[in-house]
């Protein structure tokens, strides 16, 4: 793998952190075998709206993590689904994590697991699905996969992550005590994919993705603080290797905005849900409390108060 490939995802100080986490998908052998090229795609959610500016208004990103390794838009399966809201005025951000097994209506495809939306209609259908479900308006989206995640973390020199409790997941191979751990790309991927040996299965996994994300943002922010012009390296690398239709001015604005959000100003929430069953498959049903979370996020791109 060439170096430019290995740094393909290192595009934006903060956005990349969001994108990078979004790979915690199904660890089944078939999916692993299908892994091919790393990729990172950035785009505007609604082309008719042109490019929503990063200024004072909240901006919402949809971040998708593909578990198939496929580089064509069709047939990707988003097994990690996050909304990331930036509120520049408050210098805060919120991450809203969607369990992949969330049982939701997908326009034109009945009610099924949310992660099937990209398989049916790419990122566009996922955007429509989440907007219809939550009432949250999405401005931009980023999509990436396993390989990109690993290389991003490696290129950052690893990330120190506070493991919240002892985890021993024989499926991913992740085994660590509670406490801070310096994770390489491979170990980080194992951590964010672990849903066995954690207290609440898929919910815990999704929550741990947020923990990792925050740790990564902290590292990126430190790099930005010590040398702001590093953003040019990230953007240059990203533009060389990314499917991107976002103007440079916007990328710079993203970088500056994300590079300045302290990790303590980032909160991490999993969409409230309950474990259920549909047609013999394990699913997650939306809990009534989800409506309030969605409404809160839709208001200003944030969950909760400062």
């Amino acid at each position: 793998m060439s170096r430019k490939r290995t740094i393909a995802g290192v595009i934006l100080a903060g956005l990349i952190a969001w994108a990078a986490i979004s790979v915690a998908g199904d660890a089944s052998p078939s999916h692993q075998a299908a892994a091919t090229e790393p990729f990172l795609q950035l785009g505007v959610a609604h082309p008719a709206e042109h490019y929503p500016p990063v200024g004072t208004k909240p901006i919402v990103f949809l971040v998708l993590g593909d578990s198939t390794g496929r580089t064509t838009e069709e047939s990707r399966i988003s097994d990690a689904i996050h909304l990331v809201g930036f509120n520049p005025e408050q210098n805060r951000a919120s991450i809203l994590n969607f369990p992949r097994d969330l049982w939701v209506p997908i326009p034109g495809h009945g009610t099924t697991k949310i992660n099937a939306a990209t398989e049916y209609g790419g990122a566009k259908l996922m955007i429509q699905t989440i907007e219809d479900l939550s009432g949250i308006h999405i401005d931009y989206y980023a999509e990436t996969g396993f390989s990109t995640f690993r290389t991003i973390v490696s290129d950052l020199g690893g990330v120190i992550v506070p493991v919240p409790y002892p985890i021993d997941d024989s499926h991913t191979g992740f085994n660590a005590p509670k406490g801070k751990m310096d994770m390489s790309g491979k170990v980080a991927l194992d951590f964010v994919r672990s849903r066995y040996g954690v207290p609440n299965g898929d919910f815990s996994r999704t929550e741990n993705q947020g923990i990792f994300l925050t740790a990564m943002l902290t590292k990126l922010r430190k790099q930005f603080a010590s040398n702001p012009n590093a953003v040019l390296d990230w953007i240059g690398a990203g533009l060389r290797n990314t499917e991107n239709d976002i103007p440079l001015d916007q990328l710079m604005a993203f970088s500056f905005a994300a590079g300045q959000v302290p990790s303590k100003n980032v909160n991490n929430t999993v969409v409230p849900g309950t474990i259920g069953n549909a047609g013999g498959q394990s699913i997650v049903n939306l809990a009534p409390a989800a409506d309030q979370v969605f409404a809160d996020f839709a208001k200003d791109g944030l969950i909760g108060k400062k």
Partner: protein, 217 residues
Amino acid sequence: MLVVIAAVAYVLLKDGGTGTTASENRAHGISRETPNFSFEVRKVVVVPTLPGDKTAKEDADAIAQSVSEDLASFYKTAYLDPNNWSTGTYDASWAFFDKTAVPDAKANADSLTLGDGSAYETVMPKPSTTTVKILMGSEGKSDTAAAQVTFGVLATDKSGAQTTVASMGQYFLRPEGKDWTIYAFRIEKSSEAGDQVVGSPSPAPKKTKPSPESSPS
């Protein structure tokens, strides 16, 4: 005694676009008594944005020279033009900033300019350097650049006492016609009695991964 003032403004794109201040304002902003000044360009770093881009060294050097010349012009208005420092007014300096950055620049005038220099008799530049990192676009043109500067002046008051004033940090610029316009900055100004050597910015930039000097393979 060492006095330090810092300014940080990473200007975001406000609703309403990216218009710039008219560059022709710059031509009238420097008086004849202003001492000559130019930066020594210590290093030029090219960051390609296109796969396989091999920007010619001379093209990159020319861009870096253009960036450093515009920054030198800015510093002339902000530190060296006696019409400005003697009155503490720096209207000509704001013409070097993007329209969206002007309010932040004005708000940080204390750190971006010499400030009130009415007590000084003379202000002379010290050897100053810049390192320019260029984000290359298509056709050998640059979309944006970041310049790390180490600038200094020696100010002498009417009693003959000297003060060294240093300006160190980073500017982000983008092209506007033939000129370069500042749209973000992180600058620290310090002053110290005597003829001090102008040092390196602190903290020194750390090398990050990926390497800034790496070319696409």
